[in-house]
């Protein structure tokens, strides 16, 4: 393996009974970078994290974290990782402080150092005032921050975050994003799974999209968006009946087949430079009035739709876990 890879998997496979959760996944996370693992529910994201965090043995293939094998060197490997997100948790009957102190003791930091570290983390995560309260009384956002703090007790160089903000309201999400960004700035390697496209876009250096246990795309957020097509004009006309004549008028600058989505005309362009001005001139010359015109880059939503053939998971309503069934 290369010296820089903090996480490396080759041909990783895992089945649950007859259901193949992973069907040969290769991943590389360079030290000090953030890899976003994106995919719909059931794609195998959580299985990847559980294998890398030594919670689950793979059926085939290999996985190394910090240069250590997840099966053979499991115990030594655990010193280098922190795990947070939907599958890690805090003890609701202990206070925030006691939770962190307990984790410190279980990392064998010693009594004194565990307490100091607990206080430090409570301060870092804006939980100092709540530190003496039972975690069961915390809000969802506070609990996730405590959970993330617990993952950081031993200052692990590699962090696994499994859907760290699922079910949180937007304010809590942003506060957690800031915390994660700060860790990354200090050089922590992060592997993040998410069903929120904006989250992957915002935090990741590279993104891997998996579906049905297979890797279907990878690249930087920009590269992935490029795969779906480049920039496009979105034009809303005053008179909706003029779409065809508008399409004809824009033929010279269109970089692909225009389409009509929700009453607005989408025209791929080769270059964003000067595109709006050129479009306005041509439409004006053709006597077509414009209500609104903008240039847009495709979002990861578009990437997702293009790659998986279905839209991303319905974004959870703020404060509601996405998986919660409606009675």
């Amino acid at each position: 393996m290369s010296a820089e890879a903090a996480v490396e998997t080759r041909g990783l496979r895992k089945s649950y009974g007859d259901v193949a959760a992973l069907r040969g996944v290769d991943l590389d996370v360079e030290a000090g970078t953030v890899l976003g693992l994106l995919g719909p529910n059931g794609a195998g994201k959580t299985t990847v994290v559980r294998i890398l965090a030594t919670l689950l043995p793979p059926d085939g293939g290999s996985a190394r974290v910090a240069g250590l094998d997840v099966v053979r060197d499991a115990r030594a490997l655990r010193r280098h990782i922190g795990l947070a997100g939907q599958h890690a948790a805090v003890d609701e009957n202990l206070t925030g402080f006691e939770n962190l102190e307990m984790v410190g003791r279980l990392y064998h930091l010693g009594r004194r150092a565990s307490r100091d570290r607990a206080r430090e983390l409570l301060a870092d995560f804006d939980l100092l005032d709540a530190g003496g309260r039972r975690a069961g009384t915390y809000s969802g956002g506070m609990r996730r921050r405590l959970d993330l703090a617990a993952a950081l007790v031993a200052r692990p160089p590699i962090l696994f975050l499994d859907e760290p903000t699922t079910g949180l309201d937007i304010r809590s999400r942003i506060s957690l994003w800031d915390a994660i960004a700060a860790l990354v700035a200090e050089g922590t390697t992060v592997l993040l799974t998410t069903q929120y496209l904006d989250e992957a876009d915002r935090l990741s250096d590279r993104i891997v999209v998996i579906d049905h246990g297979l890797l279907i795309a990878e690249g930087t957020p920009d590269e992935l968006k490029q795969q779906v097509g480049g920039d496009r004009l979105e034009i809303r006309l005053d008179d909706g009946r003029q779409h065809e004549s508008a399409t004809a008028a824009l033929e010279g600058i269109a970089g692909g087949q225009p389409s009509l989505v929700d009453g607005s005309l989408r025209v791929p362009v080769q270059s964003r430079r000067g595109a709006i001005a050129a479009a306005v001139r041509r439409l004006d010359a053709a006597g077509i009035a414009i209500d609104d015109i903008a240039i847009r880059r495709p979002t990861l939503d578009d990437v997702f739709l293009e790659l998986t053939g279905h839209v991303a998971e319905p974004a959870a309503e703020p404060g509601e876990p996405a998986t919660e069934a409606v009675p």
Partner: protein, 257 residues
């Protein structure tokens, strides 16, 4: 040597956590002390007059039996706790740490000893108030208390297995009470086994609860013990080992799903 010290440290850290939980949720303990106390009162004052226990005052006959029953159920906190840890994902947190995995179980069962001590103090206190009196040497009574704690520890492992097998804390509750509760009644805990129909008497005679109750009774009341005390010790150790192994087996299976 250092490895052993770390294992012990992990166990103690997790035992402390379980003890703290009981302190934070005293209603848990109330369940495990109030119910046996109600049983003492019901059996002594309601049923006692109708139950004939040749050679014993009924309260003297009952208290050792009912204490054994409460020891057996003291470990229930472990079943609830483990089922809860699995459900809430705390088990994954522990398993991602460079700690002893056995401590997740041994810490729990160790903490149960403190629950059992509280129960023991309450039950003996209530027994004495209801008219129970020890009729054996201090050494014998002390040995009886030691035996009770050993019995409690053995059943903590039974409950550890139940907690890891049940699909939820509620299911653990159902398993515990529908399986173990009748077993404690078909024994010498509440009535002399000779008063049962002969087929049931045979069951009760061979029920380890009967051995444990008879052993406790002889240590507390100075009655002839026969082999009961040693048999009770062997039973307790066997149950600890068997269910300890079962719990470890379940633990391995359930966490890698």
């Amino acid at each position: 040597m250092k490895a052993v010290a770390l294992e012990l440290s992990d166990m103690l850290v997790l035992a402390k956590r379980s003890v703290l939980r009981i302190r934070r949720q005293p209603d848990l303990l109330v369940g495990f002390t109030v119910q046996p106390v109600m049983f003492v009162l019901l059996f002594v004052y309601v049923f006692g007059g109708a139950i004939s226990t040749p050679g014993f005052e009924y309260v003297d006959f009952l208290i050792p039996g009912i204490i054994v029953q409460s020891m057996v159920f003291g470990g229930f906190v472990t079943a609830l706790g483990l089922a809860d840890d699995l459900k809430k994902g705390l088990m994954d947190r522990f398993r991602s740490l460079p700690m002893s995995r056995a401590a997740v179980l041994t810490g729990r069962t160790l903490a149960d000893i403190s629950t059992n001590i509280v129960q023991l103090v309450v039950m003996i206190g209530v027994g004495l108030l209801a008219g129970f009196s020890f009729a054996a040497s201090a050494a014998s009574v002390t040995a009886g208390i030691g035996l009770l704690l050993l019995i409690g520890y053995a059943f903590s492992w039974v409950f550890a297995f139940i907690g890891l097998t049940a699909s939820s804390p509620e299911a653990a509750n159902a398993y515990g009470f529908t399986i173990l509760f009748p077993l404690t009644f078909v024994s010498s805990a509440f009535v002399p086994v000779e008063s049962m129909p002969s087929w049931l008497e045979a069951v009760a005679e061979n029920n380890p609860f009967t051995t444990m109750v008879d052993a406790t009774r002889s240590l507390f009341l100075g009655t002839p013990a026969g082999n009961d005390v040693w048999a009770a010790v062997v039973w307790s150790i066997s149950i600890s080992l068997a269910f300890g192994a079962l719990a470890v087996w379940r633990f391995r299976r359930v966490v890698t799903r």
